[in-house]
């Protein structure tokens, strides 16, 4: 298929269709409303179904039900809406059903603003709901990668019977870029899910629950989940490096949109003979600590640049124990220019 020019949010919707998803339950919230709008229009062409829920609480519990029926299903939202969905995300993790959530992050806390932010990093990677669980978190930095990661997210959700979240921001959602989609997956050809609720015809009933009153049974679930997370940590880490060399003046850590601003600043400084490399985690959980640490070992100084007051910096510190990790970030929806970032890099290198 040829490349087409699309808005990030629309590409997310189209990629879900390509992945064999035919059901979307969602609630409008800026800056992700183009996803439900796109699917409301596009779904009838592929026998898909768009349902506008009464709230994010309902939307997320609808996709919990849909996932229990063994169907590929998507919802998208933005920060305040994702907080409301955290209930269902915890239940999906406890019940072990595959669902894909997209968070087009906006600035907070509270109602905050509608401009881009990376302030939900902790929520996505550390505290996506009550209880002892993890979700896979994938962070694109361009429209093409958003489309690719959506398709991957459905496969990973099925593989691990676990929620997967795409963490983007208003820039990824709103910007237009060329995108080429993968092959259309026919939902009919997807592997059977023998655990799904399809009617107990000729078999014992399937029961999907996250309630385990016997502490031994619940602990066994916790241990099974842990084994699953260890497996994710072993084989699902994804990252990108840029301009890495052995004697770098600085290693920059950035995810999503900030990585692109960082790269522009790096290119400019390279022309002046300053060697700066960039490490970008694509999976925020599992975080590629080893690869991030290796990059740190080649650099004199380290900095994490984020659209927050500093959240991923915790993971950079874990990746490079004992090293000082510097920080530069803007908040409130303000996105720094490459020049702002370049000046921060220079200040740090010269200090």
């Amino acid at each position: 298929m040829a490349r087409v020019l699309m808005k990030g949010n629309e590409a997310i919707g189209e990629a879900a269709i390509r992945a064999g998803c035919r059901f979307f339950f969602g609630y409008p919230i800026t800056p992700q409303s183009e996803v439900p709008e796109y699917l409301a229009k596009r779904f009838p062409e592929v026998d898909g179904h768009f349902i506008q829920a009464e709230s994010e609480v309902a939307a997320s519990n609808m996709i919990y039900g849909a996932a229990c029926s063994g169907t590929r299903v998507l919802t998208t939202s933005s920060s305040p809406g994702i907080s409301l969905m955290s209930e269902a995300i915890s239940y999906c993790a406890g019940t072990e059903v595959p669902v894909v959530f997209v968070n087009i992050v906006r600035a907070g806390p509270g109602l905050g603003g509608i401009l881009p932010s990376q302030g939900d990093y902790w929520q996505a990677t550390r505290g996506m709901g009550h209880g002892d669980f993890r979700i896979l978190v994938l962070a694109p930095n361009c429209v093409q990668e958003a489309a690719d990661l959506i398709m991957l997210a459905f496969d990973l959700a099925d593989k691990y019977t676990n929620p997967v979240m795409i963490l983007g921001d208003g820039i990824i959602g709103q910007m237009m870029e060329p995108v080429e989609f993968g092959e259309m997956v026919d939902p009919e050809t997807l592997p059977e899910k023998p655990w799904a609720l399809t009617g107990a015809k000729g078999r014992e009933p399937n029961i999907l629950t996250s309630l385990f009153l016997d502490p031994n049974v619940l602990e066994a679930l916790n241990q099974r989940l842990l084994a699953k997370y260890r497996q994710m940590e072993a084989v699902e880490k994804r990252w990108e490096t840029y301009n890495i060399s052995d004697n770098m003046d600085l290693a920059v850590y950035a995810w999503g949109t900030m990585s692109r601003i960082g790269k522009t600043a790096i290119d400019e400084l390279k022309e002046r003979g300053i060697e700066i490399g960039l490490f970008r985690p694509i999976t925020l959980y599992p975080y590629p600590y080893e690869a991030a640490g290796e990059v740190a070992s080649k650099a004199k100084k380290l900095i994490s640049i984020e659209l927050s007051t500093g959240q991923m910096i915790d993971d950079v510190r874990l990746a490079a124990p004992g090293r000082e990790v510097n920080f530069f970030g803007r908040q409130g929806g303000i996105v720094p220019t490459p020049e702002d970032v370049r000046d921060e890099f220079l200040k740090l290198i010269e200090s």
């Binding site: 059901f23 339950f25 179904h49 349902i51 829920a53 009464e54 709230s55 609480v57 309902a58 939307a59 519990n61 609808m62 996709i63 919990y64 039900g65 849909a66 996932a67 229990c68 029926s69 169907t71 299903v73 209930e87 269902a88 239940y91 019940t95 609720l197 399809t198 009617g199 107990a200 015809k201 000729g202 009933p205 399937n206 029961i207 999907l208 629950t209 996250s210 309630l211």
Partner: protein, 260 residues
């Protein structure tokens, strides 16, 4: 040759329930199971259990089951039914689950006309958490969180779910029955049969409310509890059909013509 004239419905499992003596959950479960059997629906039925006394309903019914978050059963049922419209989907919810924390979910499922069936058990109290005030608790009725009786000045009057939901324009089947009075049990079963039949015909959303008892948290013996349901609940929660899909749409609806 001995003929079996009474047995456990196939839609119930051969297990004992955890329900308190005198509670009407057991009869309600059995009536649902009998109707599923009689309509031949068991093998394509999915139940959605609530949070509340019936949280373990999936251990008692012999069909596929999901366990929802508190109040969210109608949202979960929406997801299941929309994805697999050939399934028969029902939720089983108490008054705290449906009429308090899940008010938005039940209202909008009814308003969208979701083609599933809701069994609503109203016993005017929170049972599982130990007798707290419910949205359906009667005025001056004592509960652990209204130890001096429900004060309507601060807690409002009890919520009448059938009366509220039957005012929604979208066609539906809404009925209130009871299993606390023996002669009413056949009528309760008739309402359940209609509710599931309408769903099987893909006609409408259906809800059957059971005026129920909670001897344990009401502090009464089972017989007294049944009497109290009649004397103190039913005048305010009258039995009957509140809405059927054959009811005419209200006047004044200007249906906008489509583009094509």
């Amino acid at each position: 040759m001995i003929e079996t004239i009474f047995s456990r419905p196939e839609s119930l499992r051969e297990v004992s329930t955890h329900y308190c003596p005198g509670c009407t959950h057991g009869i309600t479960h059995r009536l649902i199971a009998e109707v599923l059997d009689e309509l031949g629906l068991r093998e394509r039925t999915v139940g959605v259990a609530p949070v509340g006394c019936a949280v373990l309903a999936y251990n008692y019914f012999n069909c596929d089951f999901a366990e929802a978050a508190h109040g969210r059963a109608p949202a979960m049922a929406t997801g299941i039914k929309r994805c697999r419209p050939n399934l028969i989907v029902f939720t089983y919810q108490g008054d705290g689950d449906l009429a308090s924390i899940g008010t938005a979910e039940i209202f909008h499922a009814a308003n969208r006309g979701e083609k599933f069936t809701v069994i609503f058990v109203n016993n005017a109290i929170y049972g599982m958490t130990g007798g707290q005030m419910a949205p359906t608790t009667m005025p001056n009725q004592k509960a652990t969180t209204c130890p001096f009786g429900r004060d309507v000045e601060t807690a409002g009057y009890p919520v009448r779910v059938c009366e509220v939901l039957s005012k929604i324009t979208t066609p539906s089947y809404i009925a209130r029955v009871t299993a606390a009075v023996p002669k009413e049990i056949p009528r309760a079963k008739d309402a359940l049969r209609k509710a599931f039949q309408y769903q099987a015909e893909n006609r409408c959303f259906s809800l059957v409310e059971f005026v129920s008892t909670c001897p344990t948290n009401w502090g009464m013996n089972p017989l007294k509890a049944c009497e109290w349901a009649v004397s103190d609940m039913m005048p305010y929660y009258p039995l009957g059909e509140f809405k059927t899909p054959d009811d005419p749409l209200p006047a004044g609806l200007n249906l906008i013509e489509g583009d094509e």
